[in-house]
């Protein structure tokens, strides 16, 4: 459906109308995702054969708890960010390109949803490329000149990732003769001993890891996030890597099976090491950033590390914690990027030195930033705490208490870089009086921001939806359901 909306936006080519169409459609997608999740929770799997071809030849869409959950995250963020985009986008884009922006946005959303919903690996690749190509465009649309190089960098890295993925899928097709996930899952165990499948596995894991931005394959991410328009950053940061992460889970658990991935291929150890590396390098790099958006981008690298850590446990609690963090991180990072978007909207910059004393001028925005930041640190009563709780619990269940301690130590690094901003914003006074005086962001931008902040607090205290579903989804993945 969002795919249909994209050309429509281009055809209309009128700013407000394009926005209306996009918003309407993403809200509809949100409603559908919510319904789907409700049904999968009740019934298990829903399958739909596209174009009436039977599953083995045609493209099958399959929805279970896992992807319904991810779809809900993606559509929620997409809708909230769109609400925000109406006012933020004109400040950061050339006016004539705005309908193009909405078209690309819808295309990206469509691609991401396609990736999540499909039951066919080649189809998955196609949708992944749709979303990736449109996100390159979205980043390049920014008025910042450096966004072009950032988008180019992303393009190169992303294409390498996609190629790897395609090679892997090709190899699997050679060995099994099918592209349907369910058939693959059934056929793969017979041939897992072969070198071809092992190579396919390696290609797929590396390819998807680029998309996930797992250290050391994260280099595209900081620039892309830092120079893209705020709405785009908020959207991509909380959806694109998350969907790629979902793909990783899907391949690992549904297709190859946990036994093969973690038993034969020793992925547990590799992911554990890389996850820890990501957490510490990402957080440390974040501490030294001047540009706050870049800082949050590095923080995303670290947060992805947390999710990979969760996966490396290969237990219900671990994978559940990863999925839960996927949800939680999406809402807290989106909130933080939206807050920065407000700052950029009024100030025209997000350098930390220029943000001195901003707390007085933009109290609502900066209060939101503090709450979002505390959530990122993992303060109790926020979503971040719940993620950390499960992650540490997962590590302790394995008896890996150094890992548990490392997770908590990494939270301290988070505290350092978040509090650096809070310190400057609330305690310092600006070096010179700003001309003209900076005022609070318009309500149209504050409202979506506070919706997300409220979500941060709500899901930090009422976790039946997020944690409950995440745990169920993890159970489903590990149980080999699909």
């Amino acid at each position: 459906m969002p795919l249909l909306a994209a050309p429509l936006c281009l055809l209309v080519y009128e700013r407000r109308l394009a926005w209306g169409i996009s918003l309407g459609l993403s809200l509809a997608a949100l409603a559908i995702a919510a319904l789907l999740l409700q049904r999968t929770l009740a019934e298990g799997v829903i399958s739909y054969e596209l174009g009436g071809w039977s599953a083995h030849w045609g493209i099958e869409y399959r929805v279970d708890v896992v992807n319904a959950f991810v779809m809900l995250v993606v559509t929620t963020i997409a809708s909230v960010v769109l609400l925000y985009a109406r006012q933020s986008v004109p400040g950061e884009l050339y006016l004539g390109r705005i309908p193009l922006f909405y078209a690309m946005y819808m295309l990206c959303l469509g691609g991401l949803l396609g990736v999540t919903i499909t039951g066919d690996v080649f189809n998955l690749f196609v949708f992944m490329e749709i979303s990736a190509l449109s996100s390159y465009t979205l980043i390049a649309l920014s008025q910042e000149r450096r966004a072009l190089t950032a988008a180019y960098q992303y393009l190169i890295m992303g294409t390498i990732g996609a190629t790897f993925l395609l090679i892997g899928i090709g190899l699997m097709y050679i060995m099994t003769g099918t592209l349907n996930m369910r058939d693959l899952a059934a056929a793969l165990p017979a041939v897992t001993g072969t070198r071809t499948i092992q190579t396919a596995f390696a290609f797929i894991v590396v390819g998807v890891s680029i998309k996930v931005a797992l250290v050391p394959l994260h280099l595209w991410l900081p620039n892309a996030y830092a120079y893209a328009p705020s709405a785009v950053t908020a959207f991509i940061a909380s959806t694109a890597t998350k969907v790629a992460f979902y793909v990783l889970l899907r391949f690992l658990f549904t297709l190859f099976g946990a036994g093969f991935a973690f038993g034969n291929m020793l992925l547990g150890g590799i992911f554990l090491a890389l996850g820890l590396l990501a957490v510490f390098t990402g957080s440390t790099a974040a501490i030294f950033q001047e540009n706050v958006k870049r800082m949050l981008a590095y923080s995303s690298v670290a947060q992805i590390g947390f999710m990979i850590l969760g996966v490396s446990f290969a237990t219900t609690t671990g994978v559940g914690a990863a999925l839960l963090h996927l949800f939680n991180h999406a809402i807290m990072k989106a909130a933080l990027f939206l807050a920065l978007g407000c700052v950029y909207y009024r100030l025209g910059t997000v350098n930390i030195t220029d943000m001195r004393g901003l707390g007085r001028d933009m109290p609502w925005t900066m209060t939101a930033f503090v709450i979002g930041g505390l959530s990122l640190v993992g303060m109790p009563l926020t979503v971040g705490f719940i993620s950390k709780w499960y992650l540490v619990l997962g590590a302790l269940e394995q008896g890996w208490w150094p890992v548990a301690a490392a997770v908590l130590l990494a939270s301290l690094l988070t505290l350092v870089y978040i509090w650096r901003v809070v310190d400057v914003v609330w305690l310092k006074v600006p070096a010179t009086q700003r001309q003209p005086r900076v005022t609070e962001a318009p309500p149209g931008m504050l409202l979506p921001l506070w919706v997300l902040i409220f979500a941060n607090l709500y899901f930090g205290t009422h976790t039946t939806l997020s944690a409950g579903v995440a745990m169920q989804a993890a159970d489903w993945l590990l149980g080999g359901g699909g």
Binding site: G378, K388, L396
Partner: protein, 491 residues
Amino acid sequence: MNALTALQLAFWSPLTGALLIVAARRHAAVRDAISLATAVTLFGSLLLLATAVFAGARPTLMLLEPLTGLTLQLTPEPLGMLFALLSSSLWIITTLYSFGYMGAHLTHGLTRFYACFALSLWAATGMALSGNLLTLFVFYELLTLATWPLVTHAGTPEAHRSGRLYLGMLLGTSISLLLLAIIWTWQLAGTLDFVEGGFLQGSASPVMLGMLLVLYVFGIGKAALMPFHRWLPAAMVAPTPVSALLHAVAVVKGGVFFILKVALYVFGIDTLTQLWSRQWLLYAAGLSILLASLVALRQDNLKLRLAYSTISQLGYIVAGTLLATSAGIVGSAMHMVTHAFGKITLFFCAGVILLAANKADISQMRGLGRSMPFTMAAFLVATLSVIGVPPGGGTWSKWFLVAGTLQADQLLLLAVLLAGSLLTALYLLPIPMRGFFSRPDVPLNIADHKVPPACLLAIGLACLGSVVLFFQADALYRIARLLLPGGAHAG
């Protein structure tokens, strides 16, 4: 009014007060009135609640259930009531003091000051009444966050630096050690609810439980056990009422309260005695007592000296708890109260001296007793209480702590406690002595009557508290007895 209503009122009144203070920011008089009214309401409702709780009632208030089986809930018990009554009664006195002090000394950001004060007290009350570890942890963190704006209140670069250290150290220890300990506890026992006699016995090997105890004792950074004490001297940059109520009472006593709670209701005294790490932690506490006293001797800034003295006295409470004997526990609980009254008086006096004489260094306070006899007399009484000699309430708490070391056959620790008291006398007594018996280097043009009367009233009340605790120690002792297994009957 029944106990549950009193609990509701006690819990919500400081938070409501904070919001009202912000709402009344344009009217200074109304705002100040609200501050005082909130403090009185809190104390009153806690008194009502306390009578029920001491009689054996355990009302429970469920706040939230963030995770299945894991709740935020309030279940007051005697120790919590003791801590809550302590901090709320001293809050009333501190509010009086603040009217005089802040009015004369600092003028900017008073609304933020009073609002954060009320929020801090809300967090402290939440800690006191908490029914499980998670609730206690949540309010512990809130207390750190709510006091941070108070520490950085002055807005100077030094205040910012101290604020960073304060926040970094308290959040650092609590996230990396304490949270780990709590999640570990949850994983071992599957519950976090406080149970009389503890709930960890037999859930893991004594070696593991010993590790867990180390995590708890050091993770609770607010107890300022060395080497995690640096935040407390740093916090002295805050205005004096903050140092007095928060950094001699609510925050630090919150820390030792947490340790007492863990010892009594998570491990249980019987389990505690079997842990290998207890002996080492006792030594750590002893070292903390001695080292902090020695550092205090070398401080010329009065507030810094008092801060190090607090670290040393907190070591007494931690040690008493870890002794895990009946006298040790009783002594710890009593010292929590008596030291609070003594130390708050000392800080009040330090603030008044700064205000009226503009002196922060001890070396300049010669002969001050001649011109400020009332202040210096109060300082003397409080000093005696902190040292542990009559007519100060500290006499009795130290009495029981010493008895505790004898009960547990910890003769080395006994020596440390006595040496600590001696050192306390060495670093505190010279101040009033020189104040009264030395001649000032330069003639001092100050007098008690230049001090705002509200401050003098507060000093008088706090000092009176110390003396009353000496003569009427029985009530306190009976409450402390309630903490012991079967104490409800024996008391």
